[in-house]
């Protein structure tokens, strides 16, 4: 009798010991790991080169494609950040690949991005349209309405009775789809700082920031902007867009705006 009651007790004690050992070992490992302590704490900046693969984006009269220019400028921006900032850069694509708009937002969210910068090249029906523009997400009234509605339904007691399981998923998807609504103010600050640098670097007349309902920004859960570096539909700007010096100038301006912002707002 005594034996049988003792044995399980011993077994469970061994179990508990084993469980305690795991975190202790993990802690020891992390302390003595060869990586510098700061490396683990490095935060991520996600850069999103617009389009890619079959999705070329806007096309120029002389044959340049939005997807190629966005990648080239994004890689330059990455180099600048990695050279002088203590952030890690995660790219949504590094090659000429298709990446869905949802997956781009997912890259930001899965890497707990500090900021998300999407690089694009503009196109307009108006050939004369020109200049760099920084956008942030436009949260329109109907989105606000849907979000409130989803919130009210979620807090209702009769939620389970009223909403079928598959609809609940849909409500969650809608909320997920609107993650950016929580960061609109910070996003507009970031956009301002980048646009200011672009205006100076490219000697643009005092251009303001703009808002639009970008699909790629909707689900991003951190401050996020979309930079349109020039108009590919404008023949003069199309020529400049493939110019290495122009691309560097743009990447540097974005980099300066970004570092200013991160100095002022080191927390997300």
């Amino acid at each position: 009798m005594a034996d049988s009651s003792v044995r399980p007790h011993i077994k469970s004690a061994a179990f508990i010991q084993a469980f305690l050992l795991v975190p202790v070992l993990a802690a020891l490992l992390s302390v003595f790991s060869p990586l510098p302590a700061s490396a683990a704490a490095l935060r991520n900046i996600v850069i999103d080169p617009g389009h890619g693969g079959l999705y070329t984006g806007a096309k120029g009269k002389f044959g340049s494609l939005e997807k190629d220019i966005t990648l080239s400028v994004s890689l330059k921006l990455r180099t600048l950040i990695e050279r002088s900032m203590s952030y890690r850069v995660v790219m949504t694509r590094e090659k000429d690949l298709d990446v869905s708009l949802e997956n781009r937002a997912a890259v930001a969210n899965n890497n707990d991005a500090q900021v998300f910068v999407s690089i694009h090249v503009n196109g307009s029906v108006r050939k004369k349209a020109h200049g760099a523009e920084t956008f942030f997400m436009n949260v329109n009234a109907s989105d606000e309405e849907t979000r409130k509605l989803a919130y009210l339904e979620n807090t209702s007691d009769q939620l389970d009775a009223k909403i079928a399981d598959e609809d609940q998923d849909e409500v969650k998807m809608i909320l997920w789809d609107m993650a950016q609504t929580a960061y609109v103010r910070q996003s507009s600050r970031l956009a301002e700082m980048i646009q200011q640098e672009l205006n100076q670097a490219l000697r643009l007349e005092n251009r303001g920031i703009k808002q639009a309902g970008f699909k790629v920004l909707q689900g991003v859960a951190c401050p996020a902007v979309l930079v349109e570096i020039a108009f590919i539909s404008n023949p003069d700007e199309e020529r400049r867009l493939s110019d290495e010096a122009f691309q560097n100038q743009v990447a540097e301006a974005i980099f300066r705006g970004l570092s200013q912002y991160l100095k002022l707002y080191p927390q997300k």
């Binding site: 806007a58 196109g123 029906v125 108006r126 639009a212 699909k215 909707q218 349109e228």
Partner: protein, 197 residues
């Protein structure tokens, strides 16, 4: 070896076909969009106006010019139907697709056809375009906004019952027109995009 002249001929024909296909593929959309209206109104019989006794009304359609970003409203006469905003919505979109009659720029690919348009009781207009609306679109953030708001503002500006507009392509909801602006939910108008005066 015997068949070689035939093979050569076949190859030449295939090359020519590929060349032609490429030519048509490369010379497609941007040019045609710039041209604006196609003047299809010419095919309407001249006595149509006289025999049509239905009441008319003037609407304003949203086009662009090179000088600024704002829409320039162009007046157009449509057949009025006070009982059904859906009927008027169809006329407005059909006229918009025709393009400007005063040389303004249209943001809608001219190959586009209107499949259907209706306005629900809650004030949402559903407009279903043929696939060319997206496929022939030149892409680009500004170009997409120009297209989307040309439709949304033209409808909401002229039809007081329309509070937002849902754009469909070939009967289906789409994420974006060409990779930028979300169109998967109804879009409220933005009248600040229209030039004043």
């Amino acid at each position: 070896m015997l068949k070689s002249p035939r093979t050569a001929l076949l190859l030449a024909l295939a090359a020519a076909a590929v060349g032609l296909a490429l030519f048509f593929f490369l010379s497609d959309n941007r040019e045609s969009i710039r041209k604006g209206g196609r003047g299809t109104e010419a095919s309407v019989p001249e006595n149509a106006e006289e025999t049509d006794a239905r009441p008319k009304r003037i609407v304003k359609l949203m086009f662009l010019n090179e000088d600024g970003e704002a829409f320039i409203p162009e007046e157009r006469e449509i057949t009025a139907d006070e009982t059904s905003p859906s009927v008027e919505a169809r006329e407005i979109v059909a006229e918009l697709i025709q393009g400007s009659k005063t040389g303004l720029l249209s943001a809608i690919p001219p190959e586009t056809r209107l499949i259907q348009a209706y306005v629900t009781k809650d004030g949402t207009a559903y407009v279903d375009f043929s696939r060319e609306f997206a496929e022939k679109h030149p892409s680009g953030t500004s170009a997409e906004m120009e297209t989307i708001y040309a439709v949304v503002d033209s409808l909401a500006y002229n039809l007081t019952s329309v509070k937002k507009v849902c754009l469909l392509v070939d009967g289906e909801e789409r994420e974006t027109l060409a990779g930028h602006i979300a169109i998967n939910r109804p879009i409220p108008p933005d009248f600040t995009l229209i030039a004043r005066n």
